[in-house]
Symmetry: C2
Protein backbone atom coordinates (compact mmCIF):
# COMPACT_ATOMS: atom_id res chain seq x y z
CA UNK A 1 0.00 0.00 0.00
CA UNK A 2 2.93 2.34 0.56
CA UNK A 3 3.31 4.86 -2.22
CA UNK A 4 7.03 5.30 -1.42
CA UNK A 5 6.71 8.99 -0.63
CA UNK A 6 9.95 10.92 -0.41
CA UNK A 7 11.36 12.17 2.84
CA UNK A 8 11.77 15.92 2.39
CA UNK A 9 14.71 17.52 4.15
CA UNK A 10 13.14 20.93 4.65
CA UNK A 11 15.58 21.92 7.40
CA UNK A 12 18.05 22.99 4.70
CA UNK A 13 15.50 25.08 2.78
CA UNK A 14 16.21 28.79 2.50
CA UNK A 15 14.16 30.82 5.04
CA UNK A 16 11.22 31.89 2.83
CA UNK A 17 10.95 28.51 1.16
CA UNK A 18 10.98 26.84 4.54
CA UNK A 19 8.19 29.13 5.78
CA UNK A 20 6.06 28.39 2.71
CA UNK A 21 6.68 24.66 3.05
CA UNK A 22 6.07 24.27 6.79
CA UNK A 23 2.97 26.47 6.62
CA UNK A 24 1.50 23.95 4.16
CA UNK A 25 1.94 20.88 6.36
CA UNK A 26 -0.81 21.24 8.97
CA UNK A 27 -3.59 20.97 6.34
CA UNK A 28 -6.36 23.39 5.41
CA UNK A 29 -6.73 26.42 7.64
CA UNK A 30 -9.53 28.80 8.56
CA UNK A 31 -9.51 32.30 7.04
CA UNK A 32 -10.61 34.99 9.45
CA UNK A 33 -10.33 38.74 9.84
CA UNK A 34 -9.68 39.95 13.39
CA UNK A 35 -11.10 43.43 14.05
CA UNK A 36 -9.86 45.57 16.95
CA UNK A 37 -9.74 49.18 18.09
CA UNK A 38 -7.17 50.92 20.28
CA UNK A 39 -8.09 52.94 23.37
CA UNK A 40 -7.36 56.04 21.28
CA UNK A 41 -9.96 54.93 18.72
CA UNK A 42 -7.69 53.65 15.93
CA UNK A 43 -9.24 50.59 14.28
CA UNK A 44 -7.23 47.65 12.94
CA UNK A 45 -8.02 44.62 10.80
CA UNK A 46 -5.76 41.62 10.34
CA UNK A 47 -6.14 38.29 8.53
CA UNK A 48 -5.25 35.19 10.56
CA UNK A 49 -5.19 31.55 9.49
CA UNK A 50 -4.48 30.02 12.90
CA UNK A 51 -7.92 30.20 14.54
CA UNK A 52 -8.93 26.85 16.05
CA UNK A 53 -11.82 25.48 18.09
CA UNK A 54 -10.99 25.06 21.79
CA UNK A 55 -14.29 24.07 23.35
CA UNK A 56 -18.06 24.43 23.18
CA UNK A 57 -18.96 25.05 26.83
CA UNK A 58 -17.63 27.59 27.60
CA UNK A 59 -17.49 28.58 23.91
CA UNK A 60 -13.76 29.10 23.40
CA UNK A 61 -11.45 29.49 20.47
CA UNK A 62 -7.77 30.21 20.16
CA UNK A 63 -5.42 31.81 17.68
CA UNK A 64 -1.72 32.52 17.33
CA UNK A 65 -0.19 35.97 16.97
CA UNK A 66 3.40 36.42 15.78
CA UNK A 67 4.62 39.81 17.01
CA UNK A 68 7.65 39.72 14.73
CA UNK A 69 5.70 39.10 11.52
CA UNK A 70 2.13 40.30 11.90
CA UNK A 71 1.78 43.87 13.15
CA UNK A 72 1.60 44.00 16.95
CA UNK A 73 -1.43 46.29 16.71
CA UNK A 74 -3.95 43.46 16.97
CA UNK A 75 -2.24 42.05 20.06
CA UNK A 76 -1.83 45.50 21.63
CA UNK A 77 -5.47 46.38 21.05
CA UNK A 78 -6.79 43.12 22.51
CA UNK A 79 -4.60 43.59 25.58
CA UNK A 80 -5.84 47.20 25.93
CA UNK A 81 -9.55 46.68 25.41
CA UNK A 82 -10.11 42.99 26.13
CA UNK A 83 -12.17 42.47 22.98
CA UNK A 84 -11.97 41.71 19.27
CA UNK A 85 -14.23 40.52 16.48
CA UNK A 86 -13.72 37.51 14.22
CA UNK A 87 -15.15 37.64 10.71
CA UNK A 88 -15.11 34.73 8.24
CA UNK A 89 -13.38 35.55 4.95
CA UNK A 90 -15.62 34.64 2.00
CA UNK A 91 -15.37 34.30 -1.78
CA UNK A 92 -16.27 37.98 -2.34
CA UNK A 93 -13.56 39.48 -0.10
CA UNK A 94 -10.63 37.06 -0.14
CA UNK A 95 -8.31 39.42 -2.04
CA UNK A 96 -9.11 42.39 0.18
CA UNK A 97 -8.70 40.18 3.23
CA UNK A 98 -5.23 39.06 2.07
CA UNK A 99 -4.23 42.69 1.56
CA UNK A 100 -4.73 43.39 5.30
CA UNK A 101 -1.46 41.49 5.85
CA UNK A 102 0.55 44.33 4.31
CA UNK A 103 2.54 46.33 6.89
CA UNK A 104 0.45 49.46 7.15
CA UNK A 105 1.59 52.03 9.72
CA UNK A 106 -0.26 52.17 13.02
CA UNK A 107 -2.27 55.27 12.06
CA UNK A 108 -3.74 53.62 8.96
CA UNK A 109 -6.85 51.47 9.38
CA UNK A 110 -6.81 48.37 7.18
CA UNK A 111 -10.59 48.80 6.86
CA UNK A 112 -9.93 51.97 4.83
CA UNK A 113 -6.77 50.81 3.07
CA UNK A 114 -8.37 47.52 1.94
CA UNK A 115 -11.87 48.87 1.30
CA UNK A 116 -13.73 46.76 3.83
CA UNK A 117 -16.65 48.26 5.76
CA UNK A 118 -16.18 48.88 9.48
CA UNK A 119 -19.36 48.55 11.55
CA UNK A 120 -20.12 48.68 15.25
CA UNK A 121 -22.97 46.61 16.65
CA UNK A 122 -24.71 46.62 20.04
CA UNK A 123 -22.05 48.78 21.72
CA UNK A 124 -19.46 46.01 21.32
CA UNK A 125 -15.96 47.45 21.72
CA UNK A 126 -14.46 46.23 18.44
CA UNK A 127 -15.34 46.72 14.77
CA UNK A 128 -16.98 44.04 12.60
CA UNK A 129 -16.53 43.54 8.86
CA UNK A 130 -19.88 44.25 7.18
CA UNK A 131 -19.05 42.09 4.14
CA UNK A 132 -18.51 38.96 6.26
CA UNK A 133 -21.41 36.51 6.55
CA UNK A 134 -20.37 35.05 9.91
CA UNK A 135 -19.14 37.38 12.63
CA UNK A 136 -18.24 36.71 16.23
CA UNK A 137 -17.86 39.03 19.20
CA UNK A 138 -14.93 37.72 21.27
CA UNK A 139 -13.82 38.45 24.81
CA UNK A 140 -10.16 38.06 25.81
CA UNK A 141 -9.68 35.36 28.46
CA UNK A 142 -5.95 34.71 28.64
CA UNK A 143 -2.75 34.58 26.63
CA UNK A 144 -0.24 31.74 26.61
CA UNK A 145 3.36 32.47 25.64
CA UNK A 146 4.90 29.93 23.29
CA UNK A 147 8.48 30.31 24.44
CA UNK A 148 9.76 27.97 21.71
CA UNK A 149 9.30 30.69 19.08
CA UNK A 150 8.12 33.88 20.79
CA UNK A 151 4.52 33.66 19.59
CA UNK A 152 1.40 34.12 21.68
CA UNK A 153 -1.72 31.99 21.82
CA UNK A 154 -4.80 34.00 22.69
CA UNK A 155 -7.73 32.22 24.34
CA UNK A 156 -11.00 34.00 23.56
CA UNK A 157 -14.61 33.40 24.58
CA UNK A 158 -17.38 33.74 22.01
CA UNK A 159 -19.88 36.22 23.42
CA UNK A 160 -22.17 36.60 20.41
CA UNK A 161 -22.50 35.09 16.93
CA UNK A 162 -24.06 36.91 14.00
CA UNK A 163 -25.22 35.05 10.89
CA UNK A 164 -28.25 34.39 8.72
CA UNK A 165 -30.36 31.83 10.63
CA UNK A 166 -31.27 29.89 7.49
CA UNK A 167 -27.72 28.48 7.46
CA UNK A 168 -28.16 26.84 10.90
CA UNK A 169 -29.60 23.31 10.79
CA UNK A 170 -31.94 21.77 13.37
CA UNK A 171 -28.98 19.98 14.95
CA UNK A 172 -26.92 23.18 15.30
CA UNK A 173 -24.58 22.59 12.34
CA UNK A 174 -23.74 25.77 10.44
CA UNK A 175 -23.38 25.53 6.65
CA UNK A 176 -20.28 27.70 6.36
CA UNK A 177 -19.83 26.52 2.77
CA UNK A 178 -23.26 27.99 2.01
CA UNK A 179 -22.13 31.21 3.69
CA UNK A 180 -19.23 31.36 1.22
CA UNK A 181 -16.46 30.93 3.81
CA UNK A 182 -13.09 30.00 2.31
CA UNK A 183 -10.14 27.88 3.45
CA UNK A 184 -6.41 28.70 3.27
CA UNK A 185 -3.41 26.52 2.54
CA UNK A 186 0.18 27.53 2.97
CA UNK A 187 0.83 31.26 3.24
CA UNK A 188 -1.15 32.53 0.28
CA UNK A 189 -3.52 29.99 -1.31
CA UNK A 190 -7.29 30.44 -0.98
CA UNK A 191 -9.88 27.73 -1.65
CA UNK A 192 -13.62 27.41 -1.92
CA UNK A 193 -15.09 24.08 -0.87
CA UNK A 194 -17.52 21.46 -2.07
CA UNK A 195 -19.09 19.14 0.48
CA UNK A 196 -18.30 15.43 0.28
CA UNK A 197 -20.90 14.73 2.97
CA UNK A 198 -21.79 14.84 6.61
CA UNK A 199 -21.31 11.63 8.59
CA UNK A 200 -23.25 10.17 11.50
CA UNK A 201 -21.69 10.03 14.98
CA UNK A 202 -19.21 7.13 14.84
CA UNK A 203 -20.17 3.93 16.72
CA UNK A 204 -17.96 0.87 17.10
CA UNK A 205 -20.60 -1.57 15.79
CA UNK A 206 -21.35 0.06 12.43
CA UNK A 207 -19.83 2.11 9.61
CA UNK A 208 -20.68 5.81 9.43
CA UNK A 209 -23.63 6.76 7.23
CA UNK A 210 -24.00 9.97 5.25
CA UNK A 211 -26.49 12.32 6.93
CA UNK A 212 -29.36 13.57 4.85
CA UNK A 213 -29.67 16.80 6.83
CA UNK A 214 -27.89 19.61 5.00
CA UNK B 1 -23.56 47.20 3.59
CA UNK B 2 -24.82 45.42 6.71
CA UNK B 3 -26.87 42.37 5.87
CA UNK B 4 -28.66 42.59 9.25
CA UNK B 5 -27.47 39.20 10.40
CA UNK B 6 -29.25 37.76 13.43
CA UNK B 7 -27.61 37.52 16.82
CA UNK B 8 -27.81 33.83 17.74
CA UNK B 9 -28.28 33.06 21.43
CA UNK B 10 -26.49 29.73 21.42
CA UNK B 11 -25.94 29.73 25.18
CA UNK B 12 -29.46 28.31 25.60
CA UNK B 13 -28.96 25.56 23.01
CA UNK B 14 -29.22 21.96 24.27
CA UNK B 15 -25.76 20.41 24.83
CA UNK B 16 -25.34 18.49 21.54
CA UNK B 17 -26.77 21.32 19.45
CA UNK B 18 -24.45 23.76 21.20
CA UNK B 19 -21.43 21.53 20.46
CA UNK B 20 -22.39 21.27 16.77
CA UNK B 21 -22.96 25.01 16.53
CA UNK B 22 -19.84 26.24 18.31
CA UNK B 23 -17.66 23.73 16.45
CA UNK B 24 -18.78 25.39 13.21
CA UNK B 25 -17.80 28.93 14.15
CA UNK B 26 -14.00 28.93 13.81
CA UNK B 27 -14.17 28.23 10.05
CA UNK B 28 -12.74 25.35 8.02
CA UNK B 29 -10.49 22.93 9.89
CA UNK B 30 -7.70 20.56 8.96
CA UNK B 31 -8.45 16.81 8.90
CA UNK B 32 -5.62 14.70 10.25
CA UNK B 33 -5.10 11.21 11.62
CA UNK B 34 -2.76 10.99 14.62
CA UNK B 35 -0.94 7.64 14.83
CA UNK B 36 0.63 6.43 18.09
CA UNK B 37 1.79 3.25 19.77
CA UNK B 38 1.91 2.39 23.48
CA UNK B 39 5.03 1.10 25.22
CA UNK B 40 3.35 -2.31 25.21
CA UNK B 41 3.05 -2.14 21.41
CA UNK B 42 -0.66 -1.37 21.04
CA UNK B 43 -1.20 1.01 18.12
CA UNK B 44 -3.84 3.74 18.05
CA UNK B 45 -5.25 6.05 15.37
CA UNK B 46 -7.42 9.09 16.04
CA UNK B 47 -8.89 11.79 13.81
CA UNK B 48 -8.31 15.37 14.97
CA UNK B 49 -9.55 18.62 13.45
CA UNK B 50 -7.68 21.00 15.74
CA UNK B 51 -4.17 20.86 14.25
CA UNK B 52 -2.75 24.34 13.62
CA UNK B 53 0.54 25.83 12.40
CA UNK B 54 2.68 27.25 15.22
CA UNK B 55 5.90 28.21 13.51
CA UNK B 56 8.30 27.40 10.67
CA UNK B 57 11.68 27.59 12.46
CA UNK B 58 11.66 25.48 14.54
CA UNK B 59 8.93 23.65 12.60
CA UNK B 60 6.14 23.45 15.16
CA UNK B 61 2.48 22.62 15.14
CA UNK B 62 -0.08 22.25 17.87
CA UNK B 63 -3.31 20.36 18.45
CA UNK B 64 -5.93 20.01 21.15
CA UNK B 65 -6.82 16.77 22.89
CA UNK B 66 -10.03 16.46 24.91
CA UNK B 67 -9.56 13.61 27.40
CA UNK B 68 -13.28 13.49 28.20
CA UNK B 69 -14.40 13.10 24.57
CA UNK B 70 -11.60 11.64 22.50
CA UNK B 71 -10.06 8.46 23.92
CA UNK B 72 -7.14 9.23 26.18
CA UNK B 73 -5.05 6.64 24.36
CA UNK B 74 -3.51 9.14 21.96
CA UNK B 75 -2.51 11.44 24.81
CA UNK B 76 -1.22 8.55 26.94
CA UNK B 77 0.86 7.14 24.10
CA UNK B 78 2.44 10.50 23.23
CA UNK B 79 3.33 11.04 26.89
CA UNK B 80 4.81 7.54 27.07
CA UNK B 81 6.82 7.47 23.86
CA UNK B 82 7.33 11.14 22.99
CA UNK B 83 6.29 10.64 19.37
CA UNK B 84 3.31 10.49 17.01
CA UNK B 85 2.61 10.70 13.31
CA UNK B 86 0.27 13.10 11.53
CA UNK B 87 -1.37 11.94 8.30
CA UNK B 88 -3.57 14.13 6.08
CA UNK B 89 -7.07 12.74 5.51
CA UNK B 90 -7.88 12.64 1.80
CA UNK B 91 -10.88 12.06 -0.46
CA UNK B 92 -10.31 8.31 -0.56
CA UNK B 93 -10.26 7.70 3.19
CA UNK B 94 -12.51 10.35 4.76
CA UNK B 95 -15.18 7.86 5.87
CA UNK B 96 -12.66 5.45 7.39
CA UNK B 97 -10.91 8.39 9.06
CA UNK B 98 -14.20 9.56 10.63
CA UNK B 99 -14.82 6.05 11.94
CA UNK B 100 -11.65 6.24 14.08
CA UNK B 101 -13.61 8.59 16.38
CA UNK B 102 -15.78 5.68 17.62
CA UNK B 103 -14.94 4.63 21.20
CA UNK B 104 -13.01 1.43 20.58
CA UNK B 105 -11.59 -0.28 23.67
CA UNK B 106 -7.89 0.19 24.38
CA UNK B 107 -6.92 -3.26 23.04
CA UNK B 108 -8.44 -2.59 19.61
CA UNK B 109 -6.31 -0.77 17.03
CA UNK B 110 -8.32 1.66 14.94
CA UNK B 111 -6.02 0.76 12.04
CA UNK B 112 -7.60 -2.72 12.02
CA UNK B 113 -11.11 -1.68 13.00
CA UNK B 114 -11.27 1.02 10.31
CA UNK B 115 -9.28 -0.82 7.63
CA UNK B 116 -6.42 1.62 7.31
CA UNK B 117 -2.88 0.33 6.72
CA UNK B 118 -0.36 0.70 9.55
CA UNK B 119 3.23 1.17 8.40
CA UNK B 120 6.50 1.86 10.17
CA UNK B 121 9.20 3.88 8.43
CA UNK B 122 12.86 4.53 9.26
CA UNK B 123 12.56 3.15 12.81
CA UNK B 124 10.27 6.00 13.79
CA UNK B 125 8.42 5.10 16.99
CA UNK B 126 4.84 5.64 15.76
CA UNK B 127 2.77 4.17 12.94
CA UNK B 128 1.96 6.03 9.71
CA UNK B 129 -1.18 5.65 7.57
CA UNK B 130 -0.14 4.19 4.22
CA UNK B 131 -3.19 5.61 2.41
CA UNK B 132 -2.32 9.21 3.37
CA UNK B 133 -0.47 11.32 0.79
CA UNK B 134 1.18 13.67 3.30
CA UNK B 135 2.65 12.22 6.49
CA UNK B 136 4.65 13.85 9.23
CA UNK B 137 6.86 12.38 11.95
CA UNK B 138 6.31 14.47 15.08
CA UNK B 139 8.28 14.77 18.31
CA UNK B 140 6.57 15.81 21.54
CA UNK B 141 7.90 19.11 22.89
CA UNK B 142 5.50 20.20 25.62
CA UNK B 143 1.88 20.19 26.71
CA UNK B 144 -0.11 23.18 27.86
CA UNK B 145 -3.13 22.66 30.10
CA UNK B 146 -6.17 24.70 29.15
CA UNK B 147 -7.66 25.02 32.61
CA UNK B 148 -10.79 26.75 31.29
CA UNK B 149 -12.13 23.43 29.96
CA UNK B 150 -9.74 20.65 30.94
CA UNK B 151 -8.26 20.16 27.46
CA UNK B 152 -4.58 19.88 26.57
CA UNK B 153 -2.66 21.62 23.82
CA UNK B 154 0.26 19.56 22.57
CA UNK B 155 3.22 21.34 21.00
CA UNK B 156 4.99 19.07 18.52
CA UNK B 157 8.07 19.50 16.33
CA UNK B 158 8.04 18.23 12.75
CA UNK B 159 11.03 15.90 12.38
CA UNK B 160 10.34 14.54 8.89
CA UNK B 161 7.79 15.11 6.12
CA UNK B 162 6.85 12.45 3.55
CA UNK B 163 5.11 13.37 0.33
CA UNK B 164 5.42 13.13 -3.44
CA UNK B 165 7.95 15.82 -4.45
CA UNK B 166 6.02 16.81 -7.57
CA UNK B 167 3.49 18.57 -5.29
CA UNK B 168 6.14 20.94 -3.88
CA UNK B 169 6.61 24.15 -5.88
CA UNK B 170 9.88 26.02 -6.39
CA UNK B 171 8.90 28.44 -3.63
CA UNK B 172 8.17 25.68 -1.12
CA UNK B 173 4.36 25.79 -1.37
CA UNK B 174 2.76 22.35 -1.15
CA UNK B 175 -0.32 21.70 -3.31
CA UNK B 176 -2.35 19.89 -0.64
CA UNK B 177 -5.44 20.19 -2.84
CA UNK B 178 -3.59 18.19 -5.49
CA UNK B 179 -2.71 15.62 -2.82
CA UNK B 180 -6.44 15.18 -2.17
CA UNK B 181 -6.39 16.56 1.39
CA UNK B 182 -9.84 17.46 2.72
CA UNK B 183 -11.19 20.11 5.10
CA UNK B 184 -13.70 19.70 7.95
CA UNK B 185 -16.47 21.97 9.18
CA UNK B 186 -18.42 21.51 12.39
CA UNK B 187 -18.23 18.04 13.93
CA UNK B 188 -18.97 15.87 10.93
CA UNK B 189 -18.86 17.66 7.56
CA UNK B 190 -16.07 16.89 5.08
CA UNK B 191 -15.17 19.04 2.08
CA UNK B 192 -12.94 18.87 -0.94
CA UNK B 193 -11.55 22.16 -2.18
CA UNK B 194 -11.15 24.12 -5.38
CA UNK B 195 -8.47 26.79 -5.54
CA UNK B 196 -9.54 30.42 -5.98
CA UNK B 197 -5.91 31.45 -6.41
CA UNK B 198 -2.60 32.14 -4.77
CA UNK B 199 -1.82 35.77 -3.96
CA UNK B 200 1.46 37.67 -3.95
CA UNK B 201 2.99 38.84 -0.66
CA UNK B 202 0.92 41.87 0.39
CA UNK B 203 2.59 45.30 0.07
CA UNK B 204 1.08 48.59 1.18
CA UNK B 205 1.58 50.33 -2.19
CA UNK B 206 -0.24 47.85 -4.45
CA UNK B 207 -3.09 45.35 -4.58
CA UNK B 208 -2.26 41.64 -4.41
CA UNK B 209 -1.87 39.84 -7.72
CA UNK B 210 -2.72 36.23 -8.46
CA UNK B 211 0.43 34.11 -8.68
CA UNK B 212 0.93 32.06 -11.78
CA UNK B 213 2.96 29.41 -9.97
CA UNK B 214 0.72 26.46 -9.12
Amino acid sequence: MDKKLSQIDFKDFEKRKRAAFVNSLSGFKSANLIGTISEKGQSNLSIVSSVFHLGADPALLGFIIRPDISPRHTLDNIRQTGFCTLNHVNEKIWKKAHQTSARYPEEVSEFDACQLSEIYVDDFKAPFVAESNLRLALKFIREVSIKENGTHMLIMEIEHAYLDQQFISESGFVDIEGLGSVAVSGLDSYHKTSRLGRLSYAKTDRSPSVLSEK
